[in-house]
Symmetry: C2
Subunit: 448 residues, 2 copies
Amino acid sequence: MTGLLTDLYQLTMAAGYFEAGKAQESAVFELFFRRLPRYRNFVLSAGLAQAVSYLQSLHFEPEELRYLRTLPQFRKVAPEFFDFLAKLRFTGDVFAMPEGTPIFANEPFLTIRAPLIEAQLVETYLLATIGFQSLIATKAARMVEVAHGRYVVDFGTRRAHSPEAGVLAGRAAYIGGCIGTSNTETGFRYGVPVFGTAAHSWVQAFPDERDAYARLQQLLGDATVYLIDTYDTREGARHAAALGRPLWGVRLDSGNLVELAWAVRKILDEAGLTDAKIMATSDLNEYKILEFAAADVPIDVFGVGTDLATSTDSPNIGVIYKLVQLEGRFTAKFSEDKQTMPGSKQVFRFADHDVIACDWECLGCGPTEPLARALLRPVMLKGELAVPVPDAVAARKNAAENLSHLPAATRSLFDNEQQYRIDYSRPLLSLYDQVQDENRILRHRHST
Amino acid sequence: MTGLLTDLYQLTMAAGYFEAGKAQESAVFELFFRRLPRYRNFVLSAGLAQAVSYLQSLHFEPEELRYLRTLPQFRKVAPEFFDFLAKLRFTGDVFAMPEGTPIFANEPFLTIRAPLIEAQLVETYLLATIGFQSLIATKAARMVEVAHGRYVVDFGTRRAHSPEAGVLAGRAAYIGGCIGTSNTETGFRYGVPVFGTAAHSWVQAFPDERDAYARLQQLLGDATVYLIDTYDTREGARHAAALGRPLWGVRLDSGNLVELAWAVRKILDEAGLTDAKIMATSDLNEYKILEFAAADVPIDVFGVGTDLATSTDSPNIGVIYKLVQLEGRFTAKFSEDKQTMPGSKQVFRFADHDVIACDWECLGCGPTEPLARALLRPVMLKGELAVPVPDAVAARKNAAENLSHLPAATRSLFDNEQQYRIDYSRPLLSLYDQVQDENRILRHRHST
């Protein structure tokens, strides 16, 4: 993966560290978010596998370095820096929560320990791939939660923020609990199950809807899904019913889905097709799914596009990446509204709350303590994989297991008063005070 | 580019067309949206260059075809279909509005004339790349409009929906009027100017803020931008001022930007650095920029991240792709809430309104008629480029020129009553009635 896919300032900072002789200083950066995204009570982590692929393949091509040297920002930079970049590979350690872990504000969920210059360069890519997939996995988990056992499938590629975002959204939606995606490349690359129905243009491509349906049945057999709204949904349902088996079912894509689902169910049942399924599409989201499921509307599968692939009601997550330790020195940010906690950390998950602690602490380990799991685990050591990264299938299983243990209030679609409890350990709070004091003394000394 | 980056149903439809002997039928599809995105009075088209690259390179690799053959949906499909896909290339014509054209609801802005099977397969990719870039170019244009001559730069890659979305967002933001992007890959690939400042971790990497600033100045000279909020913004400004020239300016990234901008401006001016610029970042968007500009707050450059790269207040656009003609037969969709107009079209732009017409019409051509431009122009013919696609620099110029001719109400940030006027030509309206009648007769005949 190209090293150029980063913000320019990462590269100028890298040049600065190189010239200041700080390139190889041992840095620890942590990835976290300060606040949950709007309308979210948890975030489901996803994207680690792509972050690791990036770290494993990070490098600069000669023509990329030639480009950098043409930029005014590098006019004063020594040629040795570009020789250094030409050989640069990621040689650091990565600790991370597995994909499919529910996470909360201020919990570091990925830690990079690496030479300062490497750790700096990778920030932008890590934020973009992990932030985005976590956003989509979270959105999917919300839909699956309220679908109460009905299936949800991702049909959002065409609305995703670029074709590649569609591929990754399909992966993340699957991790979040969807049964699969319409994105064929997602299936090919990541082994995610792929699904599809038929197009309006298919129906239009034949002089009569019934010809189009008969052809489709011949082609797809028991995988046939008739799209019945091109001309008139009830008539489409009657045409589908007339053809009988084999079929999987029908898809509704416009009109009043509640009324139409009942009407179409009746038409199919009266034709003896009681096992034919009804899929609904058309601007769905978790709020509408909740209503349909609560009213027990006869829809068996929800195909969700736009709202899933762009997380429409909450399209971004403020994942940040902060230096917490450098050459053993603890660092933090004390700006008015953007403080960070110093030092490398670990997150311990107890039955009903989490504790953010220093990385040397061991909570829930003593014989009389309540049980806890340390969530950050080694992923890469010295630039090499420590353990294979679980695939999307394993991540989806992990997510389902983890989500089932969250309190009902946390799984709710709506903002709630009872936020999931996150504590800081005493040693971490002491460290914060200590670093803040040191910083005050240092600044006072320099300004007098 | 891989043919797999599409919805599975496009591939099953393709198999169906192949088996029905319809693969080579001559189809016309049009790309448009039914409604403007939420909070938008116009959309600025972008993404055509990537759509064309995709069409030029579309193909299937042998291992991709082997994957398809493992899918249950292709169990009954003849092996000849996969041989056909192995040789498939895009051989059609493309007509499109140039990037940087303001567009409105129901106006086709890209037309594909191609064998049915090719036209079908490319839908998903075209929608995703053009829809997304148009969304971001539009968002950028709104910010640039209200910045009233102050600069806007894209810093959004880390919040984009995947790293690749960040690259394309940088390109689209530039077309929309930003002066450039922080995304280095965007600069490398598309010749977009790249910008950057410094990181908080840079400041933290030195024992004292002043050491960090001195080193930065040494590195960047007159491109130096001090990030002054790591510890205390006013103190940071004093540290920057003490170092004097050379510098470009300072960046504010937290706190009350209005108060801080005035305070920092005073500190810089009192040090004689009246030409040092102030850049502001931190959750900006067009609404905040409007307030800052209206109050004449001394901010010279707005660095916008999240809201720009994800178009937060309106993160999706319902671009659709509809079959309007097949083997000379006009097609349309008559479903309850999703009608389409039949036949291949042209859009004519007059001084103060547009007319959507049949593609054979020529409006504004007569000697006594008001002047009009035909907006859809040939881009590819028989799979080959008809003319070189203008680059991002040309698209940005085109956008600025076009936007300057829009009515003020249309350029307003807010929903307004006076929507830009779009008319349909009489021949197009007659065609709609005719196709609807034919369709009613046909359906009546079949159902009796």
